[in-house]
């Protein structure tokens, strides 16, 4: 009997070993596959169980996690959701994350390598792991001024510190409330998301970084820069500025907004052409320079490059393989030229910074949960778009645009403002898109700004310039 019992015991031992072997297979070898399986709610719940780090603007946490005491231990709250939405993005149980929430996820979640030491400390202390802090360079006042200025109209504002490339304002309208996409109620999230995606105004689109429009006359800054850089023109060069310009190789006639010639005898200086935003003069100029020269100039200002701010932004576009008529139109920012508010802000920031274009960035600092700064963003030069002399000349020309030209609403008393308006056509029966892009003070620029109002109709000076002025005033403390 003992022999049989010994065998029974042996069988039990084999069963035990089989169980342990199988458990080892599941918990060690198959674990990663199961953890990342799409239907596994645990990974989401786990992310939501971490004390995610806040996103700071100044000292204010524009996004932070608060404890809920439920299954999803933390809830993401945005103190001023729609205002900062283009920067923060959302952090959704259902739709994942966007914006800084996505781009800086490793820091916010606490898994970033720079937080390794803190994580070890937390582990040893037995505390729950916390995420790091992400500080943005946004100027809350400028942000609010831009948001209020847009007042619900479809458009975007980007302000940049020319010296560094630091983004001071990143605003869009219409915006959305990330709080509602980041709640812990997935049914409500889905309802809100569907409502947003059905909205023809596309509130989920990141307008300042991703919505490209024809830049219209603001692009004349680039054309003028190319002209000055070519060495063939100075601000005082006299160029033709007739009432109509027949596009080469076609019978199509390009007209000035005023319908009249830009100067006596249909001639005008380069400065004057910019001040009155003379279409015919810049079309002629574009044909003189050729599309390659303008494309090169545009690319030096950052067109054609997708900047990561840290979320990827759309590249500005200057089309290729242009015939002469298209080249003429491109010189005034029409045809297939496309730019986002960020692209145009970079152009004027480059002019402001004596020709040096900086890489734009949102994140200024990464800090540990204990608020020790771990990493500071060092400004980086993208390239020298124009010489300092050209920059100086362009600045003078743009100051006159505001002082006595088409951009009068951009002026701030006591401050020399350099600016340029733009009105871009969107084709038959479509309202125009209007722009204003500027920087101030002209002598030592603190802020460069681009405002775009998509298909708003009206003029850049009437609608966009006051917004740009408000943003500049806010940054300059006026």
């Amino acid at each position: 009997m003992s022999k049989a019992l010994t065998r029974v015991a042996g069988t039990c031992a084999i069963l035990l070993i089989a169980l342990i072997a199988n458990l080892t297979y599941i918990q060690i070898f198959k674990a990663d596959e199961y953890r990342s399986a799409s239907g596994n709610a645990r990974s989401i719940l786990q992310e939501y169980s971490r004390d995610r780090g806040p996103i700071l603007v100044g000292r204010e946490a524009v996004a932070k996690s608060i404890e809920t005491g439920s299954d999803l231990k933390y809830l993401r709250r945005y103190s001023n959701g729609p205002l900062f939405a283009p920067a923060t993005g959302f952090y959704s149980l259902v739709y994942g994350a966007t914006g800084i929430e996505r781009a800086e996820n490793s820091v916010l979640a606490g898994t970033d390598g720079r937080l390794l030491f803190d994580r070890l400390q937390q582990l040893i202390a037995g505390r729950d792991p916390k995420g790091g802090l992400v500080s943005l360079g946004l100027d809350a006042g400028a942000q609010k001024a831009a948001f209020e200025g847009l007042a619900g109209r479809k458009g975007a504002v980007v302000a940049i510190q020319p010296r560094t490339g630091k983004i001071l304002a990143l605003v869009q309208s219409p915006s959305f409330d990330p709080n509602e996409l980041s709640s812990n109620d997935s049914a409500a999230i889905q309802r809100y998301y569907k409502q947003l995606t059905r909205d023809p105004e596309e509130p989920l689109l990141n307008r300042p970084l991703a919505s490209s429009s024809p830049p219209g006359s603001t692009f004349k800054i680039v054309t003028a820069a190319a002209a000055l850089e070519s060495g063939q023109f100075t601000p005082q060069s006299v160029i033709p500025g007739p009432a109509r310009y027949t596009l080469p190789g076609t019978t199509t006639q390009l007209r000035n907004a005023s319908g009249t010639a830009c100067g006596p005898g249909g001639e005008v200086t380069l400065t004057e052409a910019l001040v009155v935003s003379c279409n015919t003069a810049f079309a002629w100029l574009a044909n003189q320079l050729g599309d390659d020269a303008i494309r090169q100039q545009a690319e030096r200002f950052g067109f054609g490059t997708s900047f990561e701010v840290p979320m990827p932004a759309a590249a500005g576009r200057y089309p290729s393989d242009l015939d002469e008529a298209q080249t003429a139109l491109s010189g005034i920012g029409q045809f297939d030229v496309r730019a986002t508010a960020l692209n145009m802000a970079q152009v004027v920031a480059g002019v402001a910074q004596a020709g040096a274009v900086m890489y734009p960035y949102l994140v200024t600092e990464i800090s540990s949960p204990e608020n020790t700064v771990l990493d500071t963003t060092a400004p980086e030069t993208f390239g020298q778009a124009i010489t300092a002399t050209t920059a100086q000349q362009l600045t003078e020309m743009m100051v006159q645009v505001v002082d006595r030209g088409t951009g009068s609403n951009g002026s701030i008393s006591g401050v020399r403002v350099a600016g340029k308006t733009g009105t871009a056509e969107n084709g038959e029966n479509q309202p125009n898109t209007v722009w204003f892009t500027s920087f101030a003070p002209a002598a030592s620029p603190e802020v460069a700004v681009a405002v775009v109002l998509e298909k708003s109709g009206g003029s850049g000076n009437a609608l966009a310039a006051p917004i740009a002025r408000a943003v500049m005033e806010s940054v300059l403390g006026r």
Binding site: M1, S2, K3, A4, L5, T6, R7, V8, A9, C12, A13, L15, L16, A18, L19, I20, N22, L23, T24, I26, Q27, I28, K30, A31, D32, E33, Y34, R35, A37, G39, N40, A41, R42, L45, Q46, G69, S70, D71, K73
Partner: protein, 469 residues
């Protein structure tokens, strides 16, 4: 096999009672269980759980009473089984507390009324179970007397098994007809049937093992029993199929059949019975697979649970995700998501442990069962009477099979059958039955090691001289 100082045949020599060793282990088990309970509270973030001190006091009291009863009524009992069972019971309680907290959090979140905590019921059943252990030790002063009730046990066992099918008291939960319901109380009589049928088999095999051991012929080197002796095996086979078909209880039927084969093998030492039994099991399983829908569904889920991840396979898939989430060391008690697995507190409590204590924790639990089974089989080996040997080995095999069937199911080693994990799972029927089984094993080991002269010379104790009927 033998202690250096005393072999089983010379147990008349002075035996240490080893009661102090048992007490020490009980205290250790109580501390581990209490710590687990405290960690559950801290891990879920609410501080010490509700009724923490009450639970500590009650379990300490129950452990001490059990110890006192064993000390006075079964002083020579094996000292490790009781603390092992006690530890498993307490760990189960801690995990059920943990799942209660998750359930109440969910209720608050959904704004629904707070559910009745399962842990409160489990605590009551724990007291009742340990109480019944004491009662068994009090009533059954000598396990050999149980042999008198061999056929009464058969009747009682059959009755208990059939009770859920009776009108009025029969009760079906989740498609399985395993319960009886009298007033507000539900009970699974099948759990008690396991014990009385083990007693029946032990008693029956004591008198019939010689005839069953007769060999008719050898086939392929394996000695097969005579055809007319296979009656009892056929009866057990039919009974298992019936449980399967009518009560839809895959697990219990597998355990009964496995238990029967193991006990016949131990009684006769004829491997032919195992071959025959395994063959019949395969035939039965194939038959059921072809004929009974829910068996086929279970097998298909087992083969590819992810194909049914959102319906029939949801439970096992969630269990696997939980185990994966636990990994090597687990998330820590109270820090995982075991509540995502349906029936986490009963059938899938091992998945909950696997998630929160990891591979290391679940291995520790399985080893505790290993110790329990090993001590049970060891009790059987050293027992001097055939009935005691068979009964002890039967009880140990029930534990072993039950753990294998449920742990194998939870981890997708074998198809899911739906069984409770001994001592861990929420559910009073099983818990009480498990404690009774420990009581019987303690009694057998006590009689075995008792130095009194009456122990050695009982008529049925001689393995060699049993009259065939």
């Amino acid at each position: 096999m033998s202690a250096p100082t005393a072999s089983p045949s010379t147990t008349q020599a002075v035996q240490p009672t080893r009661r102090n060793q048992e007490l020490g282990l009980l205290i250790f088990a109580w501390f581990v269980g209490s710590a687990a309970l405290a960690i559950v509270g801290i891990g879920t973030g609410d501080g010490l759980p509700d009724r923490f001190w009450l639970t500590l006091g009650v379990t300490a009291g129950a452990g001490l009473v059990a110890h006192a009863v064993v000390r006075s009524l079964a002083p020579y009992a094996e000292p490790i089984m009781l603390p092992t069972a006690f530890l498993l019971n307490l760990l189960g309680l801690a995990m059920i507390y943990r799942l209660d907290i998750a359930a109440s959090q969910r209720a608050i979140e959904n704004g629904s009324p707070e559910p009745t905590p399962e842990s409160l019921g489990q605590l009551t059943w724990t007291i009742l179970g340990i109480g019944l252990l004491c009662v068994i030790l009090l009533i059954v002063r000598d396990h050999r007397k149980l042999q008198r009730y061999t056929y009464i046990s058969l009747l009682l066992g059959a009755l208990l098994l059939l009770m859920p099918l009776f009108p009025v008291i029969g009760h079906t939960v989740n498609g399985a007809t395993l319960w009886i319901k009298i007033g507000p109380f539900t009970y699974q009589p099948g759990e008690l049937a396991k014990i009385v049928l083990t007693i029946f088999m032990a008693g029956y095999l004591v008198t019939h093992r010689d005839s069953l051991a007769n060999v008719r012929r050898k086939v392929l080197g394996v000695s097969l029993p005579r055809l007319r002796d296979t009656g009892p095996l056929l009866a057990a086979w039919v009974l298992s199929l019936a449980i399967m078909t009518f009560e839809k209880d895959l697990g219990t039927s597998v355990i009964f059949f496995g238990l029967f084969i193991a006990m016949v093998y131990v009684a006769t030492q004829r491997f032919g019975w195992v071959v025959l039994g395994a063959g019949m099991f395969l035939v039965g399983a194939t038959l059921l697979y072809l004929v009974v829908d829910h068996v086929r569904v279970r097998v298909e889920i087992w083969l590819d649970p992810f194909q049914y991840a959102n319906d029939a396979g949801f439970q096992i898939v969630q269990s696997l995700y939980g185990l994966a989430n636990g990994g090597m060391f687990g998330t820590g008690l109270g820090q995982g998501y075991p509540q995502l697995v349906p029936f986490a507190s009963s059938d899938f409590i091992l998945a909950a442990f696997g998630e929160e204590l990891g591979l290391t924790g679940i291995m520790a639990l399985l080893l505790l069962y290993g110790i329990l089974v090993q001590r049970g089989l060891r009790t059987a080996i050293s027992c001097r009477d055939v009935f005691g040997r068979l009964l002890a080995s039967g009880l140990a095999v029930v534990f072993a099979l039950q753990v294998f069937v449920v742990a194998g199911g939870v981890t997708k080693l074998i198809p899911m059958t739906g069984l409770t994990t001994p001592f861990l799972s929420a559910g009073g029927s099983a818990l009480v039955a498990n404690w009774i089984m420990i009581g019987l094993l303690l009694r057998i080991s006590d009689i075995t090691r008792k130095p009194s002269p009456e122990g050695a010379a009982e008529p049925s104790a001689s393995p060699q001289r049993v009259t065939p009927s």
